[in-house]
């Protein structure tokens, strides 16, 4: 049933083979082919720009006021590439292997290998576009290391790598807009896919300023709409990040792959109260120098400074002596939750652990003294010198922490807690990034393809740009080569009218509810259910409860939501209502997926499936597959499995002890 379209041949030659044999579209025909790109993050902007350069007529859509604001911009740490500039033994194969292993053997080998292959081109392309990566004194590019790897392959631009990469792609996109190859629709939201004869042929979009619905035709439609972490209400995602585009596609027949695979990032600033609207990440790079601990005594209410060294539990170093504070994200997050649940949490909420830089500050201070040849010097001077070094490395993150919490992290340890950060699941795509709907593609975080059950740090940027710059220009051509005889379908076609009517009816239905509770309050309640029952730890009973709670929440939403304002004006509450309605439906599917997957792997931790010391227990004989869900009706889905075959890598137990 599922045609994955993996090319023949050896793993390392598949992509080369594909590129050599895929169909091409000649330049004159490209001019007559229209492509719709929804979303302008790293995947969307790079795809729209690259396809515009090739000569296709591209229409790009984003809900923000400018394509430059997409949430890829918030990525801090870096982007991986198998350049081996450091001569430390890196290679395409190693990047491929690390990614497969990091994903706990739940990703498709062929896609991941292609990702590793094109990773080097990405760095070249970005540098040529003017992305100011960090450099050494000799003028060449600098690298740092990230979790889950033993080489230095991460390229970075201070703590703003995502911003710099997105601006590079945005500039390429704006250039194509100026050349007339891309038409940009800012402040527009895609609300449905238009299907003509079983192929995706366009979208219905809503102008968020006027509220008008618009019909747009395309020979192919690309969804580059990011992840759905906001289903948890509190996450590190932007406020506007949503699942709507992907969900509409899902309801039009696109399978949703591994929806329950969610990445919880271990180092985020903890929740400070009910008013909290989002969570802020503190980069993984901090774990290079920070030590994570909680008090040894339960419910210890002393200040961090007053707790002597002997009464501190550096639990990551204790449990995982080999990797210590640098264990992968899923492991670190679960360990923090375990300590807090057992009553060792710190801070007023007791839902936090310490990330302490004291030792690093003193260590750096002593190095500085050595460098400067100072002899008589007090402890406080050593500390001061060390603070300067730490400031240079992580200053912007420390400042951000201080602004949000009001605490000075140079003096008192940071308080951190895990938070939802990324969703590995997403629309199922084949090797060509096409969903199960013909002509409908999905790129970047929005698809399920490359990260399995857990994503390694600095790999999301790599995947977004790989898909947009180097994969889709080939694969979409392979499809469009057979579409050159399809003349533009008029937007007066009944399929457009019918889809638009459905979208319009739904909006009117939402506005007519005129209930008593705000959209936000429903979103918060959904988030609470998801976080408690489908979050870092899951069990069958909780998931069953969650499904029924979500079903009730859905009923309540459609009977009692209050949306102020009207349809034909700028109405952010109405925009949000549509998104939350989709999140509610997605939440149910995530719980169903988590319930069905009776094993623990990567970010998916089923309490019933753990080792005696609390580690994940994979069930390779039963669950070595991608769970794809086909939408059948309200609360109804059918599971379609894509078996994963490992030809190169032998799945083994991930151990960081």
């Amino acid at each position: 049933m599922l045609d994955v379209k993996i090319p023949e041949g050896k793993l390392s030659e598949k992509w080369t083979h594909y590129k050599g044999h895929c169909k091409l579209v000649n330049p004159a025909n490209k001019r007559n082919l229209e492509i719709i790109v929804v979303g302008t993050g790293l995947a969307g902007a790079s795809a729209a720009a690259s396809l515009g350069e090739l000569g296709y007529q591209v229409k790009a859509f984003c809900f923000q006021d400018s394509p430059r604001r997409a949430h890829s911009i918030a990525a801090q740490g870096g982007i991986n590439a198998a350049k081996n500039y450091q001569n430390d033994g890196d290679s395409v194969y190693r990047l491929f292997y690390d990614t497969i292993k990091g994903g706990d053997y739940r990703a498709r080998e062929s896609n991941v290998h292609r990702l590793a292959e094109v990773s080097t081109n990405i760095i070249d392309q970005c540098v040529a576009q003017g992305v100011p990566f960090a450099r050494e004194y000799g003028g060449l590019l600098s690298n740092r290391s990230f979790g889950g790897t033993q080489v230095q392959r991460t390229f970075y631009a201070a703590g703003q790598t995502g911003q710099q990469l997105l601006i590079g792609a945005y500039q390429a996109l704006e250039r194509q807009i100026a050349l007339g190859n891309v038409k940009m629709y800012n402040r527009h939201e895609m609300l449905d896919i238009v299907m003509v004869e079983d192929k995706a042929r366009g979208i219905i979009a809503r102008d968020l300023i006027t509220g008008n619905l618009e019909r747009h035709f395309g020979h192919a439609v690309l969804l580059c709409t990011g992840g759905y972490g906001n289903v948890f209400y509190l996450s590190t995602n932007a406020m506007g990040s949503n699942v709507t585009a992907a969900w509409k596609a899902h309801k039009k027949g696109a399978f949703f792959g591994n929806p329950c695979f969610t990445q919880i990032h271990p180092t985020c600033i903890p929740v400070s109260g009910d008013h909290q609207s989002k969570l802020t990440l503190m980069s993984e790079s901090l774990r290079n120098d920070g030590r994570i601990w909680v008090p040894i005594k339960k419910e210890d209410s002393r200040k961090a400074k007053d707790i002597p060294e002997t009464e501190r539990d550096y639990y990551l170093e204790r449990r995982y002596p080999a990797f210590g504070n640098l264990v992968p994200r899923d492991v670190a997050s679960r360990a923090a939750k375990e300590r807090c649940d057992a009553g060792y949490g710190v801070g007023t909420s007791k839902q936090a652990v310490y990330l302490d830089f004291t030792e690093a500050i003193i260590r750096y201070g002593k190095i500085e003294i050595g460098k400067k040849g100072l002899t008589t010097i007090s402890e406080s001077d050593i500390y001061k010198l060390g603070v300067d070094v730490v400031k240079e490395k992580y200053g912007n993150l420390f400042d951000m922490y201080q602004k949000i919490t009001g605490d000075n992290p140079y003096e008192v340890p940071m308080r951190i807690y895990p938070a939802v950060h990324y969703t590995m699941g997403g629309l199922w795509v084949d090797y060509e990034l096409m969903t199960s709907v013909k002509g409908l593609y999905c790129l970047g975080e929005a698809n399920f393809s490359d990260h399995g059950a857990n994503r390694l740090g600095a790999s999301a940027l790599m995947q977004g740009l790989a898909d947009g710059y180097f994969v889709i220009p080939y694969t979409v051509g392979n499809y469009l080569a057979d579409e050159i005889r399809t003349t533009n379908i008029s937007t007066n076609h009944p399929a457009f009218a019918e889809t638009e009517k459905k979208v319009n009816d739904r909006i009117e239905q939402l506005m007519q509810i005129k209930g008593t509770k705000s959209v936000e309050s429903f979103h918060k309640r959904l988030g609470k259910i998801m976080w408690e029952k489908c979050g870092m730890a899951r069990n069958a009973e909780g998931l069953k409860q969650a499904i029924s709670e979500i079903q009730n929440l859905k009923k309540e939403f459609w009977n009692d939501v209050r949306i102020p304002g009207s349809i034909y004006e700028m109405n952010p509450e109405l925009d949000k209502a549509g998104r939350v309605a989709d999140f509610i439906e997605l939440g149910e599917l995530m719980c169903l997926d988590a319930l069905t997957r009776e094993e623990s792997c990567g970010g998916h931790f089923r309490e019933e499936f753990q080792t005696s010391d609390g580690e994940t227990l994979r069930q390779d004989d039963k669950f070595m597959f991608v769970s794809n869900w086909e939408h059948k009706g309200e609360h109804e889905w059918e599971l379609i499995k894509e078996e994963l075959k490992y030809e190169e890598v032998k799945p083994s137990k991930r151990s960081y002890k």
């Binding site: 911009i73 760095i123 070249d124 945005y170 406020m239 008013h275 509450e573």
Partner: protein
């Protein structure tokens, strides 16, 4: 940090759309936690307004971690409020005192018309980038990333300029509504690295021409833009743009 509750009066600009005239609306807020961010305080207010059957206040925001550049409030006479190098979303209520009146206005400039309440249209910035704020390199054309070394100090200065988030606070603060800090940050970012060199002249000329066309004012070096820039973009970039522009203008062919 200990949590306090404060009461506030909020005077906020309300405007239905770009065609209508707006006015200020005043709201009283009690029990505002000092741990809230400024935008979370608006969330609470909007929740209250919705419960009361009133229209919530529309404002631009997205990432809420100070990097997307979407948030844009002119708070008590200063873009992004009282904290240095801080976006509106990173501003916290600790910055305010009990009983204080806070006046919140949209960015004001002819080039940034109000769309609704506190939301303005900043698409002129996109069009300025379209005029030349890029390096013309098609995907696949690039040489190896390490084939062109870049002096570290220049790479760092280029990065410092590229840190601009395009929020428009510089325009909002400038008495001339000039976009020079924004334009100069982009010109500097691309002028300091060798990859940007081939288009250096046309970039400066075309971006400034587009800036003028969009209706921004001229720069008079008052420095207000630099003072409010949440990313600390330096005024020296403007001087560099002047140099780039002058040299390009004097050496270009007719």
């Amino acid at each position: 940090m200990e949590q306090k509750s404060i009461s506030l009066k909020l005077k906020v600009w309300k405007q239905k759309n770009s065609q209508t005239k707006g006015s200020f609306e005043t709201h009283s807020m009690n029990d505002v936690s000092t741990e809230m961010s400024f935008l979370e305080m608006f969330d609470v207010l909007n929740e209250k307004l919705i419960q009361e059957g009133k229209e919530p206040i529309a404002f631009d925001h997205d990432c809420r971690e100070g990097i997307c550049g979407m948030c844009s409030m002119y708070i008590n006479g200063r873009p992004h409020g009282p904290w240095h190098e801080t976006t509106t979303c990173q501003l916290h209520m600790r910055a305010f005192n009990n009983g204080e009146t806070i006046v919140v206005e949209p960015w004001r400039a002819n080039a940034f018309p109000v769309i609704k309440d506190l939301i303005v249209d900043r698409t002129p910035f996109d069009r300025i980038i379209q005029a030349g704020g890029f390096i013309s390199v098609n995907t696949g054309n690039a040489v190896d990333a390490n084939s062109l070394p870049v002096e570290k100090s220049k790479a760092d200065a280029s990065f410092a300029a590229a840190a601009c988030i395009g929020c428009g606070a510089c325009v909002a603060a400038c008495k001339n509504s000039s976009a020079m800090l924004f334009v100069s940050a982009k010109v500097t970012h691309l002028a300091l690295i060798p990859q940007g060199d081939p288009e250096r002249k046309t970039r400066a000329l075309d971006m400034v021409a587009q800036m003028d066309k969009e209706g921004f004012g001229a720069c008079t070096n008052t420095g207000a833009c630099e003072a409010v820039c949440p990313k600390g973009i330096s005024l020296e970039n403007i001087a560099r743009l002047n140099k780039e522009y002058l040299l390009a203008g004097l050496t270009s062919e007719l």
